[in-house]
Amino acid sequence: MKLLTVVLRPEQLPAVKQALFDVEIRHMTAVPVLGTASATEQSMYRGVRHEISLFKRLRLELALNDHKVETAMEAIAKGANETGGFGKIFVTELVDTMTIFSGERGERTLK
């Protein structure tokens, strides 16, 4: 099992979500975050110049069984590329999972 952490621009969410739903991946956790970009930006507030280095981004987290990982990454890429192509995916190994209600553990908790 793998845990995918995806960082996107917020405006990409609808397309990426749709692309994931299209390949039957329906479970994820989303949170608004701040991310860096290749360059910082200059701004000005009440006459004071300042540099902005953190921008609004969206972080998605998906727990997947191994055979679904490539499908998911392709779907994310497809949705993200429709809307600018920004974003990164980070993959870590999941050693265990649990569905609290049933107490089930492992692969069958991820459908």
Binding site: S43, M44, Y45, R46, G47, V48, H50
Partner: protein, 429 residues
């Protein structure tokens, strides 16, 4: 209950004839000025960080409450009591006074004056926001409304030496705003800048205001209330055209203040900064406060324009001298208060109640001279008096919250709550 008996002197007064129309006007104006407290608290809360927003709201609530009580017990007597050309000395707790002041019931006249005292006090809260101790602020509020403001007021409006000289400050560019602005300068300077506001190399950092809707609604409320502030300073409705002229000027000057603040910030910084445009409205309002009755619409427009420029430059200048004024109270009320007072000497008409025609509308420099003496003596007095006041408070309870409290935010430390409790995280927690 001896207090009740003691201070209840007005109970016994026989009712003279009052001017109904004028009384209604002054009461309504006072009510509008009262509402400016809401405006100040929203502007100040919006321009600071969430972690101190409840604290600044508290300060605005308390300074008005203390002002009402202090001005009732002490301030009114100093400002309007019979006395000498420096201070009044009769009418403590409003007792023993004539029930009528030029056709107005004393209670109406008092209320209008009391809300002015409250306004003066509250100007400072924004400038010292996010770092001044609540207890220290309580003491300051009491001192300014019981003593400092009433003395300045006595000089100009209470029959003191400046009124004898012919100094013209119709609604208080100097008496209220420059006094408040000067007190803000002393307070902000003595309490020092917020942690992280200035760098060692002298450059400034941005500390964002947390809510533009609050700043905007606050500014609109202030503008709304300012019609009471200026047009109510006629203290009656005997001359409807004067009141109307004041109201018109109180519209044109801030409108022009907005436009110029916008243009200057656009040219200087490349962005049309909303907070500066809103400050421009307030700058125009402060600028027109003294000359609102004495100038015509053309004068109001020029005064507003200069105010709009002044406020943007003034905010830049404060950064240079490393005084941290989160809301711009010092340029808005201090600088534009002085400018507006001087402007009477430039654009005022004798026919409109100024002492003599202004320098730029065919008169001599004499009016300007009197205006300059008046505004500078009052600013100097205020700086001196507030320096003493803040020094004393500093030595008694300390001016500034601890570094830990400043980092965590005053709201949780002093008031046990957050401005947006359970908001960023969940309600259910």
């Amino acid at each position: 209950m001896s207090l009740v008996a003691q201070v209840g002197a007005e109970t016994a007064a026989e009712a003279p004839v009052f001017d109904g129309l004028s009384t209604m006007w002054v009461l309504l104006a006072a009510i509008l000025v009262f509402f400016m407290q809401a405006g100040f608290s929203m502007v100040e809360a919006g321009l600071i960080r969430t972690k101190n927003a409840a604290n600044v709201l508290m300060k605005n609530l308390i300074d008005f409450s203390l002002a009402a009580l202090a001005f009732y017990a002490i301030g009114y007597a100093i400002m309007y009591g019979t006395g000498n050309s420096i201070v009044g000395t009769t009418g403590w707790f409003l007792s023993g006074l004539d029930p009528s002041v030029d056709g107005l019931p004393i209670e109406a006249f008092w209320l209008f004056q009391a809300v002015f005292a409250g306004t003066t006090a509250t100007i400072v809260s924004g400038a010292v926001a996010e770092r001044m101790k609540f207890g220290a602020y309580l003491m300051y509020s009491f001192m300014i409304t019981a003593l400092v403001y009433p003395v300045a007021g006595h000089w100009v409006w209470g029959g003191g030496w400046l009124s004898e000289m012919g100094f013209h400050d119709f609604a208080g560019s100097t008496v209220v705003h420059a006094v408040g602005g000067a007190a803000a300068l002393v307070g902000a300077w003595m309490v020092g800048p917020r942690i992280g506001r200035f760098n060692k190399d002298g450059s400034s950092n941005v500390i964002n205001g947390h809510s533009m809707p609050l700043v905007a609604v606050g500014t609109f409320i202030l503008w709304f209330g300012w019609y009471g502030f200026n047009a109510g300073s006629t203290l009656g409705f005997g001359e409807p055209d004067v009141v109307a002229r004041v109201a018109m000027n109180t519209t044109l000057a801030p409108a022009m203040g907005v436009i110029l603040a916008l243009v200057v910030s656009w040219m200087k910084y490349g962005k049309t900064d909303l907070t500066l445009a809103l400050n421009g409205a307030l700058a125009g309002l402060v600028g027109i406060t003294a000359p609102c009755a004495a100038v015509n619409s053309g004068g109001a427009i020029v005064i507003g324009a200069v105010s709009g420029i002044l406020v943007v430059l003034g905010i830049g200048w404060l950064n240079k001298i490393r005084v941290d004024d989160p809301v711009g109270a010092i340029p808005v009320h201090g600088l534009c208060g002085i400018w507006g007072t001087l402007a009477v000497g430039l654009f005022g008409y004798e026919a409109f109640g100024a002492n003599s025609d202004g320098l730029l509308v065919g008169g001599s420099a004499s009016a300007l001279g009197v205006q300059a003496i008046g505004t500078f003596s009052i600013v100097a007095f205020t700086i001196a008096a507030m320096w003493v006041v803040f020094k004393i408070i500093k030595s008694v309870v300390g001016l500034r919250v601890s570094e830990e409290c400043e980092i965590k935010g005053i709201d949780t430390e002093e008031h046990g709550l957050e401005a947006y409790g359970g908001f960023q995280i969940f309600d259910a927690e």
